[in-house]
Amino acid sequence: MTDSSRGRPRVGLFVTCLMNLFRPNIGFATAKLLEEAGCRLVVPQGQTCCGQPGYNAGDEDSARALAQQVILAFEEFDYLVGPSGSCLASIRHDYPLLFAAAPAWRARAEALAAKSWELTSFLVDVLGISQTGARFDGVVTYHDSCSGLRGLGIKGQPRQLLAGIEGLTLREMAETEVCCGFGGTFCVKYPEISLKLVDDKIQNVLATGADTLLGGDLGCLMQVAGRLRRRDLPMRVYHVAEVLAGLATGPSIGEGPLASG
């Protein structure tokens, strides 16, 4: 599985910009899961953002600059792994397209794409893990974030891992595959439409009777949690990594600051 001398893969942790700022706990959860799975983890300092804000706004040039930065920071590792379907879908699909006209960079982008994984799919599809040995007491429902779902085919992996969590019951919501209205900068450029979409999502979440919402992308989770708080609706919101790592113990997303790990 790896070319490293000790047989443990060297993994570069992709630190998403939202997580770095708003929810460090997801980073610690991801690190814990990867290290417990036998990875040698490195957090490169030379990273900032995957470049989607530029790419999705039509500024391909800036997106390319960011993509180059990520390639340079991560190409030395066996794997790049991050707790976000959105960033990882971009690294896997968009990077090679961005360098369509530059063969040398294109090859590097493709090589990186081939070894870049979203956290839950890395644990399940690459490492073959089915249990993380954590406990979580609650009835949860799971929102499938669009880029992870349609860009990377992430659907079964988080559910498979959650099935191994003691004390946890998963209750599926209606329209779990429908967008929550986050959409990167969409949520601030078209706030009224975005709020309509998140209210539809919340209606489906509440209808399950679950006490906790989980998902794999912090952007979507901030969107739903931020709206829940504004509407004073009680519901815990965690990133799936926090639950899988047994670190979903403090205040949930939007419920006040977590003491840093």
Partner: protein, 469 residues
């Protein structure tokens, strides 16, 4: 039809507050999605059909000139006439000329999105003709004086109460709200019109190059009455509608109804070839086809060629959360939803329809259901790129992107700024644990709280901790 796409934001806002519209949209969305899903689940070949259809469309587009010439030859051989229109004005003129030559007074119309695209109704009415839309949905919005809000269900935004009001005003008599009574009323009102029509205009779902036929698909049978009973039948269709043979059309037919209305097949599929023949007892005396370009031939060149695969099924809008929230009128022109957000800027101008490619979360659900696998989110992103390079993207946004780039390509600076922001936000939210208003984040805090971050970023903590150990 006039372009209102630049009013997208205000129209969307109005739509969000329109309770009958919201009621109609909720109902429509659930029905379309569930019915399609049931059909797809029934047909194990569905994915193979999608793949084959996408490939066939690409083959056709690659040889479009040749197939169009073959089609023209075949139409002529069957005694019909082909007219070529470079743009909407030319298409209108061709049709008006035919109407004038045959001394037409009444025109019946089957549903045709191209006729909406070229603004045909307004032109015919201006020329003094009586125009009767015969598709029930089109008939309803004609009475309402509105544009279609969906490409296969033009009146999807209307509730039955609203239809009852329109019919009461148009037909007189007692107000009826039963759907069966409303459908009957339209049937009675339109019966006579078919027989008195001089010209019947229909669209063409497919044009068959081999036989010179036009093919239409309907549930009501209105298109057939329109084209059979009028003296002159005119087909309007985009140039991309040609397919080589009936066998090839069959491939698309297997996808069309399932994707559009969630039916296995629609009730009527009709293949028409030329005018009435010597021994025929009925049928039109003349048969014309108006092939409309209107920007399509140019679209073939660039990254947007894939858009010409579109078979106008409407699945993309049925599955689009943004369309589901605001309906079709917000898009401001003939084609709404994802396919319209690509087509409208391409046909009418990137600047005049600025919002359309941008008002999308890029969630990808449209592409996942498109029967001809058009990568709609990618095309929307390409349009954003074109807007950006042509400096149509607002200056403020371009400035923000430039600033973001300066910071994001310098990790030390980026991390330092994140540390500062974390500390400020943590302090702002320290007392209540929630951030209800944050300077510079109005778009977010308009309707949502911002989570209060911890005072230190992940990178800060991580490296601090690892250095300790």
């Amino acid at each position: 039809m006039d372009l209102h796409s630049h009013e997208f934001q205000s129209r969307a806002r109005t739509a969000l507050h329109d309770t009958s519209l919201q009621q109609a949209l909720d109902q429509a969305r659930d029905g379309f999605v569930a019915k399609r899903a049931a059909q797809v689940a029934e047909l194990s070949e569905f994915e193979a059909l999608r793949e084959a259809a996408a490939q066939l469309k690409d083959h056709i587009l690659e040889h479009l000139d040749d197939y169009l010439e073959r089609y023209e030859t075949a139409v002529n051989a069957a005694g019909g006439h082909v007219h070529w229109a470079r743009d909407d004005a030319e298409a209108r003129r061709i049709i008006l000329d035919i109407c004038a030559r045959v001394d037409a007074r009444t025109v019946t119309k089957g549903k045709s999105m191209v006729s909406e695209e070229i603004g045909l109704n307004e032109a015919l009415i201006e020329a003094g003709l009586k125009v009767v839309e015969t598709d029930l949905g089109e008939y309803i919005i004609q009475l309402a004086g509105e544009a279609p809000s969906h490409i296969i269900a033009p009146a999807v935004h209307k509730t039955r109460e609203q239809v009852a009001d329109l019919f009461e005003a148009a037909h007189g008599g007692p107000r009826r709200t039963e759907i069966s009574d409303l459908v009957d009323a339209a049937r009675q009102a339109l019966r006579g019109r078919y027989f008195e029509a001089d010209v019947g205009i229909t669209g063409g779902n497919f044009l068959i190059a081999e036989t010179g036929s036009s093919l239409i698909v309907t549930n009501e049978g209105n298109g057939d009455l329109t084209q059979t009973l009028a003296r002159v039948h005119i087909v309007t269709a985009g140039i991309e509608r040609v397919v080589p043979t009936l066998h090839d059309a069959t491939l698309f037919l297997r996808l069309l109804a399932r994707s559009a209305t969630g039916q296995e097949t629609e009730t009527y599929t009709t293949v028409s070839t030329g005018p009435r023949r010597l021994d025929d007892l009925d049928g039109p005396e003349e048969y014309h086809v108006v092939l409309v370009d209107n920007g399509r031939s140019r679209m073939l060149a660039g990254p947007f060629r894939a858009m010409l695969r579109c078979i106008r099924c409407g699945a993309c809008m049925n599955h689009c959360p943004v369309y589901g929230a605001i309906g079709g009128h917000a898009y401001g022109w003939v084609y709404p939803g994802p396919m319209g957000s690509v087509l409208t800027p391409l046909i009418k101008g990137l600047d005049l329809a600025y919002d359309l490619p941008n008002a999308c979360t890029l969630n990808g659900r449209c592409a996942s259901v498109c029967p001809v696998k058009i990568p709609l989110p990618d095309l929307l992103r390409q349009l954003r790129h074109a807007q950006f390079t042509q400096a149509i993207t607002p200056r403020r946004q371009r400035g923000a992107l430039a600033a973001w780039r300066v910071v994001a390509t310098r990790p030390w600076l980026y991390h330092a700024l994140e540390r500062v922001v974390a500390r400020i936000l943590a302090r702002l939210g320290a007392r209540t644990g929630r951030l209800r208003r944050v300077p510079g984040a109005h778009g977010w805090t308009l309707g949502r709280d911002l989570p209060t971050p911890a005072a230190r970023t992940f990178l800060e903590c991580w490296h601090h901790e690892r250095e300790k150990s």
